[in-house]
Symmetry: C2
Subunit: 213 residues, 2 copies
């Protein structure tokens, strides 16, 4: 059995994705230390994904919920197997995720969500969502799972939970529109007041959604 | 937005893991085409993991359950960003998974399992499970999720579903023992009669477990 490092800290693999949402800005490209690029963004020195991960760690440690980020899907092309040392992947590519980023269990309920960030101030661009993610959310709802998106407006420092049903409706009914107006999100979603600990207390809203269900 | 290939077919990333459980046997090492290594094992020309994935595809296509295999966690060390072409990972390593392989939703219930295969005939080696996976299963049970393991005895061509509670009990009470006797699995688990379609109809048993809960 080969032993791989098993750091519980946020994985570097999250970075390239985040770079994409950050309008192409890439710290890694510019030669900065990779381990620092994770915390270089965001008003409070932590990016949105890292804040959610910290929140999930908190929920897990208190026995409140078991919710994890799925690993980034990677297509592996070439692997070296050096004698007496661990396998080394020498050619691989990022793949598009076929589901959402986060899933887990809260009081028996299946919880599934995607987290996205924008620098826009009045709309959330729909290009952040792929059709197969929308399909996945519909499938989850059909199985009576709790599905939503967490949206962070970085410029406003506002975070919303929007139940996936509203995203799906908007996506198919308004498919001429390229983005969701903030007003629609405010009307149909829930604002999350960010905390010190946990950073993004979304579980209170999930609890409401479970009760309604 | 970069577009990555989004094949729904089983990912190659599953292979190195499978090789480990197959007592070190490695097709890739011997220079065989990598794409074939996925189907080179197993009595019926399909390995256990691929059979589960096919089963999950079937359940998804019929609207019966939404259960996916999580991507293999990869620690990325070096990424090239060639101009006008997609990012290429040039150095990366397999990481140990901190949770289980499969999760999803069935009639609102959170479903979580790990699938393992052995060539042993009378016992299932416990070295196939890491302590943090056992801890994860305990956490899932504490949140009232449905947690189990699917065990395939390749030499016997027998497959069992063992609820995680029995694995956890065995793991902590008999921690001198290095493997679970098949008799214990037969007594506390459920034998799965493999089918043509779906290959491994475990959902019938999950349905029973939900009713008991
Ligand atoms: Mg995402
Ligand atoms: Mg596994």
């Amino acid at each position: 059995m080969v032993n791989y490092p098993n750091g519980r800290s946020q994985s570097y693999s999250a970075v390239p994705k985040k770079q994409k949402t950050l309008t192409g800005l890439s710290v890694a490209k510019k030669g900065a230390p990779k381990s620092k690029s994770l915390v270089a963004f965001g008003k409070r020195g932590m990016n949105f994904e890292a804040e959610i991960n910290a929140t999930n760690d908190y929920y897990l440690s208190r026995g409140l919920a078991v919710i994890h980020k799925k690993p980034t899907p990677i297509q592996i092309v070439k692997v070296d197997y050096p004698q007496r040392s661990r396998a080394k992947i020498t050619e691989a590519y990022f793949r598009q995720a076929s589901t959402t980023d986060y899933s887990g269990v809260y009081k028996g309920h299946y919880v599934d969500f995607e987290a996205k960030e924008t620098h826009q101030k009045t709309v959330f661009p729909l290009k952040n969502f792929h059709e197969h993610q929308i399909v996945h959310m519909s499938n989850v709802l059909a199985q009576r799972g709790i599905a939503f998106i967490l949206l962070h407006f970085a410029a406003l420092d506002e975070t919303y939970l929007l139940p996936s049903s509203y995203l799906i409706t908007f996506y198919y009914e308004k498919n001429g529109l390229k983005s969701i107006p903030l007003a629609y999100i405010r009307e149909n979603g829930y604002k999350i007041e960010t905390n010190h600990i946990p950073r993004i207390p979304y579980l209170e809203i999930v609890n409401k959604l479970c009760e309604v269900q």
